[in-house]
Each structure stands twice: as C-alpha cells, then as structure tokens.
C-alpha cells in the first residue's frame, strides 16, 4: 500500500486573510498548524471562508498582505500552485475530457517528464488502489459520478504530493454513494498517511475523516478540535448547533439548577451562576416515567427511525426538546414523561452566539 510513501509536509497558515477586489472579506486573518500526515477538515456552511482557506494553501489565491503559507517551515506564499507539489481534488472533479482515464491519472507525471514505462506502472498501481481497474481506456464522459471521483483522487495522488487538498469531493454524489465512498476515502487517506486538508459542509464527513476539525463561520475560525471535542465540548452556540443535533436552553439558574417550566435540571460548573445557556445532546436524555425525574414534559410527537426514535417533548423547557430514545420504548404522543439528564451531559455555552 506504500504508493505514496512518507513524504507528507507540515503546513502552517500564518495570519492569512482574504479580501476580494470588490471589498468583500472572505476570510479574517487566521492561523492554523497542520501536522505531517494529519487529516484536517475545514467545516462550515457555504460562504464561511473554508474554500478560500483551501485555495490560499493550494496557491490559487494570494492571502492579503501579512499572510504567509509555510510548507515544512519553508515560505511558499509567493510560489505558484504548479510549483507547490500539492494534489488537488475539485468538487466538479475537473477531469480532462480530451484524455482517457489513464492519461488523466498520468498527466502530472507526464508534465514532470516521467518516462512512459514508469508512468504506466504507476498509473496501474493507482488504478488498483482506487478500485477503477478496467476503466483505464474509458473517456471521462463514459464514467459515473463515483468513478469520476476515484479518477480525480488517483490523479491527485499520482504525483506523490506533499499535501492533498480536497474541495467537497463527495458533494456531487447521491447520498448512498456518498456514505460508501466516505468510508473508502477514509481508509485510503489513512493508508496513504499523507497530509490532507479536506473542505466540506457535511458534518458527518468531517467527523469520520478528520483527525481535527476546523469549524468556520463567516470567515472566522469558530473552533478547532478533534471530532470528539467539537461534538462534546462546543465552545459556542453556532458550533453546538452546526455539529449534530443540539437542544439549546436559556434559563435562570438557582443553586446549580436550571429553572425550567417542567421542573429543575441540575447542572455542573460554577454554583454562582444566575442565568445559563445550556446545550444538551438529544441522545443524552433518558425517557423515564413522569415523577421519577426532576424534569418532565409531554410528548408532542414520535418519529420512529429504526435504530432509534426521535421524540419531541413540549412543556419541559420554554422551547421544545428533542430526545433520541431507544427504539424499544413505546411511549405515545400526549403522554407525560420524565426527562433524566445527567448533570455532566449539560454543556454550558457562553451567552450570546
């Protein structure tokens, strides 16, 4: 599997901002360090600056004055993309329609003057690695979306890049294929051990693929952390709501307990709080008999999903509370139930956004 070998580079983005000619600020000055061999995911809604960040690292955009991009400690800011030795996968795949699959994969090697024979054997390796054997002589127009995605990836890693950059590589595919390719891509990235920067707006992709995830919002980095940190310890309401489902409850606090319409909910942390913004993940809430928990509410609706059921509870908080309950519970809409929440499952967020 050592098709790439150990030649990933470390990346440092130093106070890189981006203001476009028309004055729009796509990216506030930001600093990021990406370790050798790490997979870093830039995650955020469209317009959050994640693609701009990727394009600055690639060398397709220049950062505003003062920004610097370093590979292995070497300043690459003014080096054009063709000299940066980065592999890139585009959302549209950008495969050359005038070339066959094999010629697409071998293009970077051809440009580098690699001989025909060596090129062919390298293309064969990558074709096997990305599971597209038999398609070598096909035209791009004869490929399905999933096959195109694999060719684009094979083409990008064929040049043994120091850094692999992926811009929403799975977004153009349908949901089922996306899930399957996500797992495949994950295994491949781990096997290659190459420094990877992956841009997506899909939090499931970010969670599965990222060693670390950078959550971005409106051109600003909101939080950087491992998938677990981002999920369990979001540092803002935006991150909490963007990653997975979250119940955000704003309520007064008394003696370390949230005062809610449906009762009281103990919380950890500072005992002197008077109000709090609390986040509770739906799967951390237990449904029990009314009265056997300090907090209770009425079931508004139940959606049976299969592996679990999503219950919407009214009356417990000023807003509805979503609960992911085990699929064995047979509570119905209209029933009054208790909500059992461990104090350490309640995450306090800074007030405001």
């Amino acid at each position: 599997m050592n098709v790439i070998g150990d030649h990933g580079a470390s990346v440092r983005v130093e106070t890189c901002g981006k203001t476009f000619v028309d004055g729009t600020r796509a990216l506030e000055p930001a600093t990021l360090d990406i370790a050798r061999g790490e997979t870093l995911v830039l995650l955020g809604p469209s317009g959050c600056g994640k693609t701009t960040m990727l394009r600055i690292i690639a060398g397709l955009e220049l950062p505003d004055v003062g920004g610097k991009v370093l590979f292995d400690g070497k300043d690459m800011t003014s080096v054009p993309i063709e000299k940066r030795n980065v592999g890139m996968v585009f959302q549209s795949y950008a495969l050359f329609p005038n070339m066959t699959v094999a010629d697409n994969i071998g293009y970077g090697l051809k440009i580098r003057g690699v001989g025909k024979h060596e090129r062919a054997s390298r293309v064969a390796e990558l074709v096997a690695l990305t599971n597209i054997t038999g398609l070598e002589n096909r035209r791009i127009t004869q490929l399905s979306g999933g096959q195109r995605q694999r060719v684009a990836l094979a083409r990008a890693v064929a040049i043994r890049p120091g850094i692999l950059l992926l811009d929403e590589p799975l977004t153009a595919l349908d949901a089922a294929l996306r899930d399957r390719l996500r797992g495949e891509l994950n295994r491949l990235l781990r096997a290659l051990g190459i420094t990877t920067i992956y841009v997506t707006h899909d939090q499931a992709e970010a969670m599965e693929l990222g060693d670390r995830v950078v959550v971005m919002q409106k051109g600003v980095i909101a939080q950087v952390g491992t998938p677990r940190e981002i999920y369990f310890e979001p540092n803002s309401r935006f991150v909490a709501e963007f990653i997975g489902a979250a119940n955000i409850i704003e309520a007064p606090v008394e003696n370390g307990q949230l005062l809610l319409p449906g009762g009281r909910q103990p919380i950890g942390g500072d005992a002197n709080l008077t109000t709090a913004v609390a986040m509770i993940r739906p799967e951390t809430i237990g449904i029990v008999a009314a009265g056997s928990a300090p907090l209770s509410g009425t079931i508004d609706s139940v959606s049976f999903i299969g592996d679990r059921q999503r219950m919407i509870i009214g009356g417990a908080s000023s807003k509805i509370i979503a609960v992911d309950a085990p699929n064995t519970i047979t509570a119905k809409a209209g029933e009054r139930v208790g909500l059992l929440i461990a104090p350490d499952a309640v995450r306090l967020l800074p007030p405001g956004n």
């Binding site: 690639a58 397709l60 054009p80 993309i81 063709e82 000299k83 030795n85 980065v86 592999g87 890139m88 585009f90 959302q91 549209s92 950008a94 495969l95 050359f96 329609p97 005038n98 070339m99 066959t100 010629d103 293009y107 970077g108 440009i111 580098r112 083409r155 990008a156 040049i159 950059l165």
Partner: protein, 284 residues
C-alpha cells in the same frame, strides 16, 4: 376494451403524421424553389459549353483557372489560420479580464460585421492604397511609398478585417463556457501556463475553432465585394466567375466555376469537421 385503445392510438398517430407533413410544406417549397432548381440548372449549364462535361475538368486542367483556384484556397486558408490565432489570443484576453473600456473595445471589434465587402475594400484602400496611411508614413520615414491595397495582400488584410469579429465572438462564448477548474487542476499537477494552454484550453476550444474557422474559410472563399473594390484583376475565384460571366459572357465556364467553388468550400468544411472530430477522439 383493448380494441378501443388500439383504434384511438392509431387515429392520434395518423393525424399527428399529417400535421408534420403540413409543417414540412413551406420548407419543401423553399428548398425546391431556391436551392434544388437553381442548383440543378447551374450544374446543367456548366456542362452545356463547347466542351460539354469536360468543362468541369477545365477548372483543373486550364492553367489560368487552376492558378486562380489554388490562389483562392491558399488565401482563404491563410485568412482562416491567422484569424484563428489573433481571435483566440484576443478573445481569451477579453473574456478573462475586466478593464475600463472593455465593452467599447468589443463593440469596436465587432463593428466590421455591419460593413459590406465594398466598404471593407474602401477601408483597405484608405489604409494601404496610393493615398493611404501606410504609404504616407513609409514615405516620410524611408522616402518610399508602400502600397499593397490593390494586391492579394490587401485582399488578405480585408478578409482578416471581416473574419476576426465573427471568430472572436464564437471564441469568447466558448472561453466563457470553459471550466476554470480544468486549468486549476492542470496547474496543481505541475503544468506551466503554456502546458495548460496546450493540453487543456486549446483542446477544449477545438469545436469552437472548427465552427468559426469553417465560417471564416467559406466566407473568404466566396467574398466578392472586397476583391471587386480593390481591383478587378486580383486572381480569386469569385472575380474570375464575374469576369467570365459579365465580360466574356461565358455562361458555361462561370457556371462550372461556381459549382466548383461551392463544392470545394463544402468539401473542406466537411473535411475540417470530420478531421477535428478525429483529433478530439484521438487526443491525449
């Protein structure tokens, strides 16, 4: 039940068919009146000279006709190639860059579309004729008047002048449709700006080159007004047809030459099309 459905279907099919025939009627009338009949007549007239069918062969065997034919094809080919080069570079720049005065420049470049060949010829005379700008300038600089408006070079310049706008608009439209991602992908793989043009941009523009080049070629083959304005003795096919027809009253030869001109223009267009299709399929 089934029988009823079948009948209904058949009725719908019949009326639809006759409706289509009705719609074809204007096309059929126009085609017959303006294309088939005159063309057939032209072909017949071409074979009615003293040499009969051999009149067609004279286009190739008679030295004067043959030289004119080669002249015309070379001129049209040169016009096409030079137009494509200029229009591609200019069109790519105009489509990719925004600068003050861009819209005015594009409007100016497309201006020749509005001019008939006579006016284009007149402009060439103003530029390179006996009292022309180039002659004046060279006279002051070297004491020698450079005059080429009345030669085949003047004609070449005139053809360039009215071919460039047609081609430039087609190229600009094609450049607009290019996926910038393709160029970025090639660059990320290490391709220099020249390599990107060679391997990605030019192949992608291939169909636009064929389409616009074919039009430039056909127009240059048959353009008459410019040649007529510049001089009555420039050796190109349309001029030859004119002189054979009006001065020598040689109906058979001019008809044969007309058929020949049309056939060559059509054949080269067809050839260019199939050739480009072949290269597109075999590229890489």
């Amino acid at each position: 039940m089934q029988y009823g459905v079948l009948t209904k279907g058949t009725v719908v099919f019949m009326s639809h068919k006759s409706f289509v025939w009705l719609c074809l009627l204007p096309l059929a009338v126009v085609t017959t009146a303006f294309f088939l009949l005159p063309m057939a007549r032209l072909v017949v007239v071409g074979a009615e000279g003293p040499q009969g069918l051999a009149g067609y062969l004279a286009i190739l065997t008679e030295p004067r006709y043959r030289a004119t034919l080669i002249n015309t094809i070379v001129l049209a080919a040169a016009t096409t190639v030079v137009t494509l080069i200029i229009a591609t570079v200019a069109g790519m720049f105009l489509q990719r860059h925004r600068f003050p005065g861009r819209a005015v420049l594009i409007a100016m470049l497309t201006f020749p579309l509005a001019f008939p060949g006579v006016v284009v010829g007149f402009l060439i005379i103003l530029l390179a004729g006996r009292q022309g700008l180039i002659g004046d300038l060279s006279n002051r600089l070297f004491g020698e008047k450079i005059v080429f408006a009345y030669s085949i070079y003047g004609l070449f310049l005139g053809y360039l002048y009215f071919s460039i706008p047609r081609v430039i608009l087609t190229i600009m439209a094609a450049v607009q449709k290019l996926d910038v991602g393709l160029e970025e992908a090639a660059r990320s793989l290490g391709a220099s700006p020249w390599a990107v043009q060679r391997d990605v941009v030019l192949p992608a523009l291939g169909p636009a080159f064929v389409a616009s080049g074919a039009i430039a070629f056909a127009t240059a083959m048959g353009a008459f007004g410019t040649a007529f304005t510049l001089a009555t003795n420039i050796d190109v096919l349309p001029m030859l047809i004119y002189t054979e027809f009006t001065l020598a009253a040689n109906f058979a030869t001019s008809a044969a030459l007309s058929v020949g001109l049309g056939f060559i223009a059509w054949a080269i267009l067809a050839l260019a099309r199939s050739f480009s299709g072949g290269t597109v399929a075999a590229a890489g």
